[in-house]
Subunit: 339 residues, 2 copies
DNA sequence: TTGATTTGTGCAATCGATTGTCTGTTTTTA
DNA sequence: TAAAAACAGACAATCGATTGCACAAATCAA
């Protein structure tokens, strides 16, 4: 019974009185082996309960059929659905997935890189931590030709492929939506401006304002870490002022939520006194009261696409590996802007 | 540059004119090697940019320093926080984590088992799919003495350690809470009754009713898959009846949410006409309107505890490996029951 | 019938680190 | 001072699967 765990190709070979190499080839469906032998080997393998030892195979072929994923935090819905996408595709293609969380800290991210490298992953999919400003650690992969694909929070300093959603358009649509609702002074709570996604959301917002000849007021644009607490601080800054905006476009749903909660706290009516639009369409956005207008981005699609790209590079090492794929976003209109 | 990736202990050995075994022992701090040699080896290793090849080491020692995790779905907050707990502890102890999702399907779960086994994980932490009724596939691990720990959705048929939250008490507290609010007819939407957690939540509920001399009405107890859709169906069944309950305790927050939404749809006031209590404290529960009273269970703690147990078994193969750890739960009172 | 191909298998080296056993040197002990 | 013990390191086998090359048998062409 316990012996089952030790069945190797040699046991099969012995049982059939053939050599290990033949067994190996038979199991790998090598054309040099006759169908008769293949069948015999497969039957015996099944009978003995043979389970290939991936370690040995990996060592010899130096390919682990494993891809590594580095994400800020798994508990964010966007990222967990990205992982679902990654895992699903990877698995059907015979790859395992190792996940590391950076907890949005550059140092942790650097650890993740080491861990994944030590595990000899065949490729890496990453989304960078919110405070990462130095990308040296990723050179561990690029220097050694280990394929690397970024998604969502990407890095332009490194020459890799990337998958993002159309953040610029998202920002634009969000702002234009508020304009169409008759809002006059539209504030923006943006994310750290060293991250492309937040730059793009801001730029989209600015473009919409300019298009409609809105004056751009610096005071109405705040940079934030986009946490629950930070969101509240921003809400205070914007709403406690006598000259408060009548709409806020927040770069994520968490901050939008903070705004809604604070606005309710100080007695503002949403959307009458203040319209709010978020970004991401987190699961809670639908249920907040008032429900939150937001930009939907599919984590699942992003993950799938990134994996597609990565597996492409892994299996077919030639070609252009600096592709940028931009996936569409969609405005989800809900109560928080419905006036 | 590319050579860096191929530095082995033999390269170090050659550079120092010693043998590979000495290098290996030096790097592993073996007592048979002199401090002088150790230092020389370490320095040279650093200088050459040596990175141990885990594959080779794993093959020889047949231990991968990797633990596998099988969960229903990563996008559920409870599970993603469990993973965060698992990962955190595992990483500090030098273990990697491979995650597989069963998508709540028995067949997928069986695949996960195969995948993890093929990866030769040193141990497994699992929470079973909602429709799993046959546990044969887990014998792949138990038959081969691969440590296995279940959490949350556990399996009593297999003799393993497990970590659960106090579902019984959760059910009891939830029901007693509704009773204390003066509710007279308290319904329960339970989960599949082949899963311990749902049996226990139901039993806790029943005990509370009995303790307070409530009549137990079979019609008010429904078994459900606890999805959004199923929740709505249950809500209809319960609320469209002329003789509707004045409170519902749902076995998860998703169904509780469905109830709230449906109740609002048909014009019932919550909590005045209908009080609702859920289970899990999902992130959205706080923001639903009315906010949802629920039972909090810490995924993070459960994950951490399960990992602790597993690593214990892995590193110290003796002792009792059928421990059951029950973690506390907590009632979170919110608007949906506040009357 | 003979030489040339094709087909099916086996042999042995290999991937890189680990480890039991052996050898030579130094230190300790009686 | 000789024998025993302790020490430092080397050799070679090993983990299990893969693969280049060799070789025999079977098939084919001439």
């Amino acid at each position: 019974m316990k012996k089952e765990s030790n069945i190797t190709i040699h046991d099969i070979a012995k049982a059939l009185n053939i050599s290990g190499s033949t067994v190996s080839r038979a199991l790998n469906d090598n054309s040099r082996i006759s169908d008769k032998t293949k069948k015999a080997v497969r039957d015996m393998a099944k009978q003995l309960g043979y389970q290939p030892n991936a370690l040995a195979s990996n060592l010899r072929t130096s390919c682990t059929k494993t891809i590594g994923v580095i994400i800020p935090r798994i508990s964010r819905y966007f990222f967990s659905s990205a992982i679902t996408g990654i895992e699903e595709l990877a698995r059907t293609r015979g790859y395992n997935v190792i996940i590391c969380q950076s907890n949005d800290q550059e140092a942790r991210e650097s650890d993740c890189v080491q861990t994944l490298f030590a595990s000899r992953v065949d490729g890496v999919i990453a989304s960078i931590a919110i405070n990462t400003e130095n990308f040296e650690h990723y050179k561990t992969f690029t220097d050694r030709n280990i394929p690397l694909v970024f998604f969502d929070r990407v890095c332009d300093e490194l020459e890799t492929s990337q998958v993002v959603v159309d953040d610029f358009k998202g920002g634009f649509i969000a702002a234009e939506h508020l304009i169409s609702k008759g809002c006059q002074r539209i504030a923006h709570i943006g994310g750290p401006q060293h991250l492309n996604i937040y730059i793009n959301r801001l730029q989209g917002y600015l473009k919409a304002l300019r298009k409609h000849n809105f004056e751009i007021e610096e005071d109405l644009i705040i940079e934030s870490l986009l946490t629950r607490e930070d969101g509240k601080a921003c809400a205070k800054k914007l709403l406690d002022s006598p000259n408060r905006p009548d709409a806020i476009f927040a770069a994520n749903d968490i901050s939008a939520l903070s705004i809604i909660l604070y606005a309710k706290e100080i007695g503002l009516r949403i959307p009458e006194d203040l319209a709010v639009v978020g970004f991401s369409n987190e699961p809670f956005s639908e249920y907040v009261s008032p429900s939150l207008t937001t930009i939907e981005q599919s984590g699942f699609d992003v993950g799938t696409k990134a994996t597609e790209l990565l597996l492409d590079i892994i299996t077919n090492k030639t070609g252009n590996h600096q592709e940028t794929i931009v996936l569409p976003i969609k405005l989800i209109e809900r109560e928080s802007s419905n006036r």
